[in-house]
Protein backbone atom coordinates (compact mmCIF):
# COMPACT_ATOMS: atom_id res chain seq x y z
CA UNK A 1 0.00 0.00 0.00
CA UNK A 2 1.13 3.50 -0.80
CA UNK A 3 2.69 5.47 2.05
CA UNK A 4 0.47 8.43 3.02
CA UNK A 5 1.88 11.91 2.46
CA UNK A 6 1.01 13.07 5.96
CA UNK A 7 0.44 10.77 8.89
CA UNK A 8 -0.73 11.85 12.32
CA UNK A 9 -0.81 9.27 15.09
CA UNK A 10 -1.93 9.78 18.68
CA UNK A 11 -1.36 13.53 18.46
CA UNK A 12 -1.70 15.42 21.73
CA UNK A 13 -1.35 19.10 22.46
CA UNK A 14 -1.66 21.31 25.47
CA UNK A 15 -0.39 24.84 25.96
CA UNK A 16 1.86 26.03 28.76
CA UNK A 17 0.31 26.14 32.20
CA UNK A 18 -1.14 29.44 33.30
CA UNK A 19 -0.96 28.78 37.03
CA UNK A 20 0.99 26.26 39.08
CA UNK A 21 -1.87 24.43 40.68
CA UNK A 22 -4.04 23.30 37.81
CA UNK A 23 -2.46 21.58 34.81
CA UNK A 24 -3.31 23.00 31.41
CA UNK A 25 -6.17 21.21 29.67
CA UNK A 26 -5.53 19.08 26.61
CA UNK A 27 -6.58 20.88 23.45
CA UNK A 28 -6.01 17.82 21.27
CA UNK A 29 -5.76 14.27 22.54
CA UNK A 30 -5.19 11.00 20.73
CA UNK A 31 -5.88 12.34 17.25
CA UNK A 32 -5.07 9.96 14.42
CA UNK A 33 -5.55 10.38 10.68
CA UNK A 34 -3.61 10.44 7.45
CA UNK A 35 -3.72 12.38 4.21
CA UNK A 36 -2.69 10.96 0.87
CA UNK A 37 -1.14 12.84 -1.99
CA UNK A 38 -3.50 14.94 -4.15
CA UNK A 39 -6.33 14.58 -1.66
CA UNK A 40 -8.69 17.41 -0.74
CA UNK A 41 -9.40 16.82 2.94
CA UNK A 42 -11.88 18.99 4.79
CA UNK A 43 -11.86 19.12 8.57
CA UNK A 44 -14.90 20.34 10.42
CA UNK A 45 -15.42 20.88 14.12
CA UNK A 46 -17.11 23.12 16.64
CA UNK A 47 -15.33 26.35 17.50
CA UNK A 48 -12.59 25.86 20.03
CA UNK A 49 -11.99 22.29 18.82
CA UNK A 50 -8.32 22.99 18.20
CA UNK A 51 -8.61 23.09 14.42
CA UNK A 52 -6.22 26.03 14.04
CA UNK A 53 -3.82 24.45 16.54
CA UNK A 54 -3.84 21.28 14.46
CA UNK A 55 -2.92 23.19 11.29
CA UNK A 56 -0.25 25.15 13.17
CA UNK A 57 1.30 21.85 14.26
CA UNK A 58 1.22 20.45 10.72
CA UNK A 59 2.80 23.67 9.37
CA UNK A 60 5.36 23.46 12.18
CA UNK A 61 4.75 26.91 13.58
CA UNK A 62 3.58 25.24 16.78
CA UNK A 63 4.92 22.15 18.48
CA UNK A 64 3.01 18.98 19.44
CA UNK A 65 3.07 17.81 23.07
CA UNK A 66 2.87 14.13 22.21
CA UNK A 67 2.19 11.60 19.49
CA UNK A 68 3.66 11.47 16.05
CA UNK A 69 3.47 13.76 13.02
CA UNK A 70 5.10 12.44 9.88
CA UNK A 71 5.35 14.33 6.62
CA UNK A 72 6.88 12.40 3.71
CA UNK A 73 8.05 9.92 6.39
CA UNK A 74 9.92 12.68 8.19
CA UNK A 75 9.03 13.18 11.86
CA UNK A 76 8.14 16.59 13.27
CA UNK A 77 9.73 17.56 16.61
CA UNK A 78 7.70 16.86 19.73
CA UNK A 79 7.81 19.35 22.62
CA UNK A 80 10.87 21.08 21.22
CA UNK A 81 9.88 24.46 19.73
CA UNK A 82 13.47 25.28 18.73
CA UNK A 83 13.60 22.35 16.31
CA UNK A 84 10.55 23.53 14.40
CA UNK A 85 10.94 24.08 10.70
CA UNK A 86 8.12 26.45 9.70
CA UNK A 87 6.60 25.46 6.36
CA UNK A 88 9.01 22.49 6.07
CA UNK A 89 11.29 24.25 3.58
CA UNK A 90 8.37 25.69 1.61
CA UNK A 91 6.75 22.29 1.08
CA UNK A 92 3.67 23.26 3.10
CA UNK A 93 1.79 26.46 2.30
CA UNK A 94 -0.61 27.94 4.84
CA UNK A 95 -3.54 30.27 4.18
CA UNK A 96 -4.59 31.54 7.59
CA UNK A 97 -7.90 32.80 8.89
CA UNK A 98 -6.60 36.38 8.79
CA UNK A 99 -5.09 37.16 5.43
CA UNK A 100 -1.80 38.37 6.97
CA UNK A 101 -0.97 40.49 3.95
CA UNK A 102 1.88 42.91 4.64
CA UNK A 103 0.11 46.29 4.85
CA UNK A 104 3.13 48.18 3.49
CA UNK A 105 3.28 46.11 0.31
CA UNK A 106 1.00 46.40 -2.71
CA UNK A 107 -0.97 43.40 -3.98
CA UNK A 108 1.75 42.55 -6.48
CA UNK A 109 4.54 43.04 -3.93
CA UNK A 110 2.68 40.83 -1.45
CA UNK A 111 2.24 38.08 -4.03
CA UNK A 112 5.92 38.34 -4.98
CA UNK A 113 7.01 38.26 -1.31
CA UNK A 114 7.53 34.45 -1.03
CA UNK A 115 9.47 34.42 -4.30
CA UNK A 116 11.63 37.31 -3.07
CA UNK A 117 12.59 35.64 0.21
CA UNK A 118 13.12 32.29 -1.50
CA UNK A 119 15.41 33.96 -4.04
CA UNK A 120 13.25 32.66 -6.88
CA UNK A 121 12.09 35.97 -8.32
CA UNK A 122 12.85 36.02 -12.04
CA UNK A 123 11.06 36.92 -15.26
CA UNK A 124 9.33 33.54 -15.43
CA UNK A 125 8.00 33.46 -11.86
CA UNK A 126 7.00 37.11 -12.11
CA UNK A 127 4.95 36.42 -15.25
CA UNK A 128 3.29 33.50 -13.46
CA UNK A 129 2.48 35.74 -10.49
CA UNK A 130 0.93 38.35 -12.77
CA UNK A 131 -1.04 35.64 -14.54
CA UNK A 132 -2.36 34.30 -11.22
CA UNK A 133 -3.38 37.80 -10.12
CA UNK A 134 -5.40 38.25 -13.29
CA UNK A 135 -6.92 34.74 -13.01
CA UNK A 136 -8.10 35.56 -9.49
CA UNK A 137 -9.82 38.71 -10.72
CA UNK A 138 -7.34 41.09 -9.13
CA UNK A 139 -6.20 42.60 -12.43
CA UNK A 140 -6.02 46.39 -12.09
CA UNK A 141 -5.41 46.15 -8.35
CA UNK A 142 -1.74 45.15 -8.54
CA UNK A 143 -0.57 48.47 -7.13
CA UNK A 144 -3.22 48.81 -4.44
CA UNK A 145 -2.36 48.44 -0.79
CA UNK A 146 -4.26 45.84 1.29
CA UNK A 147 -6.38 48.47 3.03
CA UNK A 148 -7.65 49.52 -0.39
CA UNK A 149 -8.95 46.02 -1.19
CA UNK A 150 -12.25 44.43 -0.20
CA UNK A 151 -12.35 41.44 2.16
CA UNK A 152 -12.83 38.99 -0.70
CA UNK A 153 -9.96 40.51 -2.69
CA UNK A 154 -7.66 40.25 0.29
CA UNK A 155 -8.52 36.56 0.68
CA UNK A 156 -7.79 36.01 -2.99
CA UNK A 157 -4.49 37.86 -2.71
CA UNK A 158 -3.54 35.73 0.32
CA UNK A 159 -4.43 32.54 -1.57
CA UNK A 160 -2.43 33.53 -4.63
CA UNK A 161 0.52 34.46 -2.46
CA UNK A 162 0.64 30.82 -1.38
CA UNK A 163 -0.08 29.35 -4.83
CA UNK A 164 2.63 31.42 -6.46
CA UNK A 165 5.49 29.40 -4.99
CA UNK A 166 3.74 26.13 -5.68
CA UNK A 167 3.98 24.22 -2.39
CA UNK A 168 2.77 20.61 -2.86
CA UNK A 169 0.55 20.85 0.26
CA UNK A 170 -1.69 23.77 1.22
CA UNK A 171 -3.34 24.19 4.61
CA UNK A 172 -6.36 26.47 4.72
CA UNK A 173 -7.87 27.71 7.96
CA UNK A 174 -11.45 28.90 7.42
CA UNK A 175 -10.15 31.12 4.64
CA UNK A 176 -13.64 32.16 3.53
CA UNK A 177 -15.19 32.35 7.00
CA UNK A 178 -15.74 36.08 7.29
CA UNK A 179 -17.18 36.62 3.82
CA UNK A 180 -20.70 37.06 2.53
CA UNK A 181 -22.35 33.99 0.98
CA UNK A 182 -22.05 35.24 -2.60
CA UNK A 183 -18.32 35.99 -2.43
CA UNK A 184 -17.71 32.79 -0.55
CA UNK A 185 -19.35 30.62 -3.22
CA UNK A 186 -17.35 32.43 -5.88
CA UNK A 187 -14.10 31.79 -4.02
CA UNK A 188 -15.01 28.13 -3.45
CA UNK A 189 -15.50 27.72 -7.20
CA UNK A 190 -12.20 29.46 -7.87
CA UNK A 191 -10.43 27.22 -5.37
CA UNK A 192 -11.84 24.02 -6.91
CA UNK A 193 -10.79 25.22 -10.36
CA UNK A 194 -7.26 25.98 -9.17
CA UNK A 195 -7.07 22.65 -7.35
CA UNK A 196 -8.15 20.84 -10.53
CA UNK A 197 -5.33 22.52 -12.45
CA UNK A 198 -2.55 21.56 -10.07
CA UNK A 199 -4.00 18.65 -8.06
CA UNK A 200 -2.37 19.74 -4.87
CA UNK A 201 -2.96 18.20 -1.49
CA UNK A 202 -5.27 20.49 0.46
CA UNK A 203 -6.26 20.35 4.12
CA UNK A 204 -9.15 22.73 4.52
CA UNK A 205 -10.55 23.60 7.94
CA UNK A 206 -14.07 24.99 8.17
CA UNK A 207 -17.03 25.21 10.51
CA UNK A 208 -19.51 25.17 7.66
CA UNK A 209 -20.88 21.68 6.90
CA UNK A 210 -22.01 22.57 3.37
CA UNK A 211 -18.56 23.93 2.56
CA UNK A 212 -16.89 20.79 3.91
CA UNK A 213 -19.09 18.60 1.68
CA UNK A 214 -18.88 20.81 -1.41
CA UNK A 215 -15.08 20.95 -1.48
CA UNK A 216 -13.71 17.75 0.02
CA UNK A 217 -12.87 14.24 -1.12
CA UNK A 218 -13.15 13.28 2.51
CA UNK A 219 -14.36 15.03 5.63
CA UNK A 220 -13.10 14.58 9.17
CA UNK A 221 -15.36 15.63 12.01
CA UNK A 222 -13.60 16.72 15.19
CA UNK A 223 -15.15 16.58 18.64
CA UNK A 224 -15.14 19.29 21.26
CA UNK A 225 -12.03 19.83 23.35
CA UNK A 226 -9.97 17.72 23.80
CA UNK A 227 -10.28 17.19 20.13
CA UNK A 228 -10.58 13.65 18.70
CA UNK A 229 -11.99 12.24 15.49
CA UNK A 230 -15.76 12.07 15.85
CA UNK A 231 -16.39 10.82 12.34
CA UNK A 232 -14.92 10.23 8.89
CA UNK A 233 -16.91 10.60 5.70
CA UNK A 234 -15.90 9.93 2.12
CA UNK A 235 -17.64 12.44 -0.13
CA UNK A 236 -18.57 10.51 -3.23
CA UNK A 237 -20.34 13.33 -5.05
CA UNK A 238 -18.62 13.23 -8.45
CA UNK A 239 -16.40 16.05 -9.69
CA UNK A 240 -16.50 18.55 -11.27
CA UNK A 241 -18.99 19.72 -8.67
CA UNK A 242 -21.48 22.50 -8.89
CA UNK A 243 -20.83 24.41 -5.66
CA UNK A 244 -23.98 26.50 -6.00
CA UNK A 245 -26.23 23.50 -6.59
CA UNK A 246 -24.54 21.10 -4.17
CA UNK A 247 -27.49 21.21 -1.77
CA UNK A 248 -29.77 19.66 -4.38
CA UNK A 249 -27.54 16.64 -4.93
CA UNK A 250 -29.26 13.45 -3.68
CA UNK A 251 -26.34 12.43 -1.45
CA UNK A 252 -26.05 15.85 0.20
CA UNK A 253 -28.97 15.68 2.62
CA UNK A 254 -28.04 12.41 4.30
CA UNK A 255 -24.35 13.41 4.58
CA UNK A 256 -25.30 16.76 6.06
CA UNK A 257 -27.50 15.13 8.68
CA UNK A 258 -24.85 12.56 9.65
CA UNK A 259 -22.14 15.22 10.04
CA UNK A 260 -24.42 17.51 11.98
CA UNK A 261 -25.32 14.73 14.38
CA UNK A 262 -21.62 14.13 15.09
CA UNK A 263 -20.96 17.82 15.62
CA UNK A 264 -23.36 18.02 18.54
Amino acid sequence: MEEPLLEIRGLAKRFAKRSRREPAPWVIQDLTFSVSEGEFLTIIGPSGAGKTTLLNIIAQIDVASGGEVRFQSQCAPIDDPKALQPGLACRIGYVTQDDHLLPWRTTLQNVLFPLTVQGRLNAETRTRAEMLIRTAGLGGFENHYPHELSGGMRKRAALIRTLVYNPPVILMDEPFGALDAQTRTQLQEDLLRLWNLGKKTIIFVTHDIAEAIALGDRTLVLSRQPSRIAGKHAITIPRPRDVRGIMTHPEFGALYQRIRAQLQ
Binding site: P103, W104, V117, Q118
Partner: protein
Amino acid sequence: MTTLGGGSTIGRPDLWHRIATSLLASGDQILVLVVLVAIWQVLSMTLGSYWVGSPWGVATRFVAGIGDGTLLHQASYTVFEAAAGFVLGALPAVVLPFALRRLPIATAILDPFMVGGYGAPKLALAPLFILWFGIGIESKIVLVAVTVFFIVYFSAQAGICALDVGLVRMAQVMGATERHVARHIVFPGAVPYVFAGLRLAMPYAIGGAIIAELISANRGLGYLIQFGAMNFDTTGIFVALVATTCIVFIGNWSVNAVERRLLRWRPVSDVTLQAGT
Protein backbone atom coordinates in the same frame (compact mmCIF):
# COMPACT_ATOMS: atom_id res chain seq x y z
CA MET B 1 -16.18 54.52 -23.25
CA THR B 2 -18.81 56.01 -21.02
CA THR B 3 -17.43 54.09 -18.07
CA LEU B 4 -13.97 55.52 -18.76
CA GLY B 5 -15.39 59.03 -18.78
CA GLY B 6 -17.26 58.29 -15.56
CA GLY B 7 -14.04 57.07 -13.96
CA SER B 8 -12.17 60.29 -14.66
CA THR B 9 -14.92 62.53 -13.29
CA ILE B 10 -14.89 60.65 -9.98
CA GLY B 11 -11.51 62.21 -9.20
CA ARG B 12 -12.72 65.77 -9.79
CA PRO B 13 -15.32 66.35 -7.05
CA ASP B 14 -12.89 64.65 -4.70
CA LEU B 15 -10.19 67.19 -5.57
CA TRP B 16 -12.60 70.12 -5.22
CA HIS B 17 -13.83 68.71 -1.98
CA ARG B 18 -10.28 68.54 -0.67
CA ILE B 19 -9.47 72.10 -1.72
CA ALA B 20 -12.72 73.36 -0.18
CA THR B 21 -12.07 71.57 3.13
CA SER B 22 -8.50 72.82 3.37
CA LEU B 23 -9.64 76.40 2.59
CA LEU B 24 -12.36 76.12 5.18
CA ALA B 25 -9.88 74.77 7.71
CA SER B 26 -7.32 77.49 6.99
CA GLY B 27 -10.14 80.06 7.22
CA ASP B 28 -10.86 78.87 10.74
CA GLN B 29 -7.17 78.89 11.55
CA ILE B 30 -6.83 82.49 10.36
CA LEU B 31 -9.79 83.41 12.56
CA VAL B 32 -8.10 81.91 15.63
CA LEU B 33 -4.87 83.73 14.72
CA VAL B 34 -6.74 87.05 14.44
CA VAL B 35 -8.35 86.52 17.85
CA LEU B 36 -4.98 85.69 19.44
CA VAL B 37 -3.34 88.77 17.89
CA ALA B 38 -6.26 90.91 19.09
CA ILE B 39 -5.84 89.63 22.67
CA TRP B 40 -2.13 90.34 22.38
CA GLN B 41 -2.85 93.88 21.15
CA VAL B 42 -5.30 94.50 24.02
CA LEU B 43 -2.76 93.24 26.58
CA SER B 44 -0.07 95.39 25.05
CA MET B 45 -2.32 98.48 25.19
CA THR B 46 -3.52 97.90 28.77
CA LEU B 47 -0.16 96.87 30.26
CA GLY B 48 1.93 99.16 28.07
CA SER B 49 4.31 98.10 25.30
CA TYR B 50 7.12 98.26 27.83
CA TRP B 51 5.84 94.99 29.38
CA VAL B 52 4.17 93.43 26.35
CA GLY B 53 5.63 94.44 22.98
CA SER B 54 2.83 95.34 20.56
CA PRO B 55 2.10 92.97 17.64
CA TRP B 56 2.87 95.73 15.15
CA GLY B 57 6.17 96.57 16.80
CA VAL B 58 7.12 92.87 16.82
CA ALA B 59 6.12 92.49 13.18
CA THR B 60 8.24 95.46 12.04
CA ARG B 61 11.24 94.33 14.08
CA PHE B 62 10.77 90.77 12.75
CA VAL B 63 10.73 91.96 9.13
CA ALA B 64 13.65 94.30 9.74
CA GLY B 65 15.60 91.48 11.43
CA ILE B 66 15.08 89.25 8.42
CA GLY B 67 15.87 92.16 6.07
CA ASP B 68 19.27 92.95 7.54
CA GLY B 69 20.04 89.26 8.11
CA THR B 70 20.67 89.47 11.87
CA LEU B 71 17.63 87.38 12.80
CA LEU B 72 18.38 84.71 10.22
CA HIS B 73 22.02 84.71 11.33
CA GLN B 74 21.06 84.07 14.96
CA ALA B 75 18.36 81.57 13.98
CA SER B 76 20.81 79.61 11.84
CA TYR B 77 22.85 78.73 14.97
CA THR B 78 19.78 77.49 16.80
CA VAL B 79 18.57 75.51 13.78
CA PHE B 80 21.99 73.95 13.28
CA GLU B 81 22.25 72.93 16.95
CA ALA B 82 18.73 71.51 16.92
CA ALA B 83 19.19 69.66 13.62
CA ALA B 84 22.61 68.21 14.50
CA GLY B 85 21.41 67.13 17.94
CA PHE B 86 18.22 65.69 16.42
CA VAL B 87 20.15 63.46 14.01
CA LEU B 88 22.77 62.53 16.61
CA GLY B 89 20.09 61.55 19.11
CA ALA B 90 17.56 59.94 16.76
CA LEU B 91 19.92 57.63 14.85
CA PRO B 92 21.13 55.54 17.81
CA ALA B 93 17.61 55.70 19.26
CA VAL B 94 16.30 53.88 16.17
CA VAL B 95 19.25 51.52 15.72
CA LEU B 96 19.54 50.39 19.35
CA PRO B 97 16.08 48.80 19.77
CA PHE B 98 16.63 46.93 16.50
CA ALA B 99 19.98 45.66 17.68
CA LEU B 100 18.47 44.62 21.01
CA ARG B 101 15.44 42.95 19.43
CA ARG B 102 16.82 39.44 19.71
CA LEU B 103 18.46 40.08 23.11
CA PRO B 104 15.64 40.25 25.64
CA ILE B 105 18.05 39.98 28.59
CA ALA B 106 20.11 42.96 27.45
CA THR B 107 16.89 44.91 26.88
CA ALA B 108 15.68 44.05 30.37
CA ILE B 109 18.99 45.11 31.93
CA LEU B 110 18.99 48.41 30.05
CA ASP B 111 15.33 49.17 30.63
CA PRO B 112 15.46 50.81 34.10
CA PHE B 113 18.35 53.01 32.97
CA MET B 114 16.44 54.02 29.87
CA VAL B 115 13.34 54.81 31.94
CA GLY B 116 15.52 56.85 34.30
CA GLY B 117 17.08 58.72 31.41
CA TYR B 118 13.66 59.32 29.92
CA GLY B 119 12.26 60.61 33.19
CA ALA B 120 15.21 62.80 34.19
CA PRO B 121 14.58 66.49 33.39
CA LYS B 122 17.08 66.93 30.59
CA LEU B 123 16.93 70.73 30.78
CA ALA B 124 18.35 70.51 34.29
CA LEU B 125 21.38 68.84 32.71
CA ALA B 126 22.10 71.90 30.59
CA PRO B 127 24.45 73.56 33.13
CA LEU B 128 26.37 70.29 33.43
CA PHE B 129 26.78 69.97 29.67
CA ILE B 130 27.95 73.59 29.49
CA LEU B 131 30.59 72.81 32.13
CA TRP B 132 31.70 69.73 30.22
CA PHE B 133 31.47 70.88 26.62
CA GLY B 134 31.91 74.65 26.94
CA ILE B 135 29.63 77.50 25.94
CA GLY B 136 29.97 76.79 22.21
CA ILE B 137 27.49 74.85 20.09
CA GLU B 138 28.77 71.46 21.29
CA SER B 139 27.01 71.64 24.66
CA LYS B 140 23.74 72.59 22.93
CA ILE B 141 24.02 69.74 20.43
CA VAL B 142 24.65 67.25 23.24
CA LEU B 143 21.66 68.48 25.22
CA VAL B 144 19.39 68.21 22.19
CA ALA B 145 20.75 64.76 21.30
CA VAL B 146 20.12 63.43 24.82
CA THR B 147 16.59 64.85 24.87
CA VAL B 148 15.71 63.45 21.46
CA PHE B 149 17.35 60.06 22.09
CA PHE B 150 15.08 58.95 24.92
CA ILE B 151 11.85 60.04 23.24
CA VAL B 152 12.67 58.29 19.98
CA TYR B 153 14.13 55.22 21.72
CA PHE B 154 10.87 54.43 23.48
CA SER B 155 8.78 55.03 20.35
CA ALA B 156 10.99 52.78 18.26
CA GLN B 157 10.89 50.11 20.94
CA ALA B 158 7.09 50.35 21.10
CA GLY B 159 7.04 49.85 17.33
CA ILE B 160 9.10 46.69 17.62
CA CYS B 161 6.95 45.36 20.48
CA ALA B 162 3.80 46.00 18.44
CA LEU B 163 5.06 43.54 15.83
CA ASP B 164 2.32 41.26 14.53
CA VAL B 165 3.54 37.73 15.29
CA GLY B 166 1.12 36.37 12.71
CA LEU B 167 2.93 38.24 9.94
CA VAL B 168 6.28 36.83 11.08
CA ARG B 169 4.95 33.26 11.18
CA MET B 170 3.49 33.61 7.73
CA ALA B 171 6.78 34.90 6.39
CA GLN B 172 8.64 32.01 8.04
CA VAL B 173 6.26 29.46 6.52
CA MET B 174 7.06 31.04 3.15
CA GLY B 175 10.76 30.55 3.75
CA ALA B 176 11.81 33.94 5.15
CA THR B 177 15.02 33.97 7.20
CA GLU B 178 15.61 36.08 10.31
CA ARG B 179 17.15 38.80 8.13
CA HIS B 180 14.16 38.86 5.80
CA VAL B 181 11.85 39.18 8.79
CA ALA B 182 13.87 42.10 10.19
CA ARG B 183 14.03 43.90 6.88
CA HIS B 184 10.59 43.24 5.41
CA ILE B 185 8.41 43.03 8.52
CA VAL B 186 9.95 44.41 11.71
CA PHE B 187 11.43 47.53 10.16
CA PRO B 188 8.50 48.72 8.02
CA GLY B 189 6.14 47.92 10.88
CA ALA B 190 8.12 50.12 13.27
CA VAL B 191 8.41 53.10 10.92
CA PRO B 192 5.08 54.71 11.93
CA TYR B 193 6.09 54.50 15.60
CA VAL B 194 9.52 55.96 14.87
CA PHE B 195 7.85 58.87 13.12
CA ALA B 196 5.46 59.43 16.00
CA GLY B 197 8.57 59.74 18.19
CA LEU B 198 10.35 62.03 15.74
CA ARG B 199 7.33 64.32 15.54
CA LEU B 200 7.14 64.44 19.32
CA ALA B 201 10.88 65.04 19.69
CA MET B 202 11.14 67.82 17.09
CA PRO B 203 9.86 70.75 19.23
CA TYR B 204 11.92 69.43 22.15
CA ALA B 205 15.02 69.61 19.96
CA ILE B 206 14.46 73.29 19.20
CA GLY B 207 13.35 74.03 22.74
CA GLY B 208 16.42 72.28 24.14
CA ALA B 209 18.77 74.27 21.94
CA ILE B 210 17.13 77.54 23.00
CA ILE B 211 17.18 76.72 26.73
CA ALA B 212 20.87 75.85 26.52
CA GLU B 213 21.49 79.16 24.75
CA LEU B 214 19.50 80.99 27.39
CA ILE B 215 21.81 79.69 30.08
CA SER B 216 25.02 80.55 28.36
CA ALA B 217 25.69 81.64 24.83
CA ASN B 218 26.69 84.58 22.73
CA ARG B 219 24.59 83.70 19.72
CA GLY B 220 21.34 81.98 18.75
CA LEU B 221 17.68 82.75 19.41
CA GLY B 222 18.03 81.84 23.09
CA TYR B 223 20.77 84.44 23.34
CA LEU B 224 18.44 86.98 21.71
CA ILE B 225 15.78 86.24 24.34
CA GLN B 226 18.30 86.58 27.15
CA PHE B 227 19.71 89.77 25.63
CA GLY B 228 16.21 91.24 25.25
CA ALA B 229 15.38 90.43 28.87
CA MET B 230 18.53 92.08 30.17
CA ASN B 231 17.71 95.26 28.22
CA PHE B 232 14.02 95.29 29.21
CA ASP B 233 13.25 94.84 25.50
CA THR B 234 10.04 92.75 25.47
CA THR B 235 9.58 93.37 21.76
CA GLY B 236 12.98 91.76 21.17
CA ILE B 237 11.93 88.72 23.20
CA PHE B 238 8.69 88.40 21.25
CA VAL B 239 10.58 88.61 17.95
CA ALA B 240 12.78 85.70 19.03
CA LEU B 241 9.72 83.73 20.16
CA VAL B 242 7.93 84.28 16.86
CA ALA B 243 11.07 83.13 15.03
CA THR B 244 11.17 80.00 17.22
CA THR B 245 7.53 79.23 16.45
CA CYS B 246 8.22 79.59 12.74
CA ILE B 247 11.11 77.13 13.02
CA VAL B 248 8.94 74.59 14.88
CA PHE B 249 6.30 74.92 12.16
CA ILE B 250 8.82 74.31 9.41
CA GLY B 251 10.34 71.38 11.31
CA ASN B 252 6.94 69.83 11.91
CA TRP B 253 5.96 70.27 8.30
CA SER B 254 9.21 68.61 7.15
CA VAL B 255 8.71 65.58 9.40
CA ASN B 256 5.12 65.24 8.17
CA ALA B 257 6.17 65.54 4.54
CA VAL B 258 8.78 62.79 4.87
CA GLU B 259 6.34 60.63 6.82
CA ARG B 260 3.58 60.98 4.26
CA ARG B 261 5.99 59.91 1.56
CA LEU B 262 7.22 56.89 3.48
CA LEU B 263 3.83 55.82 4.77
CA ARG B 264 1.81 55.91 1.59
CA TRP B 265 0.62 52.40 2.40
CA ARG B 266 -1.44 53.55 5.36
CA PRO B 267 -5.13 54.41 5.11
CA VAL B 268 -5.48 58.12 4.28
CA SER B 269 -7.48 58.92 7.41
CA ASP B 270 -4.58 57.84 9.65
CA VAL B 271 -2.11 60.06 7.87
CA THR B 272 -4.32 63.15 7.78
CA LEU B 273 -5.26 62.72 11.41
CA GLN B 274 -1.61 62.72 12.33
CA ALA B 275 -0.62 65.51 9.97
CA GLY B 276 -1.92 67.90 12.61
CA THR B 277 -1.26 71.28 11.04
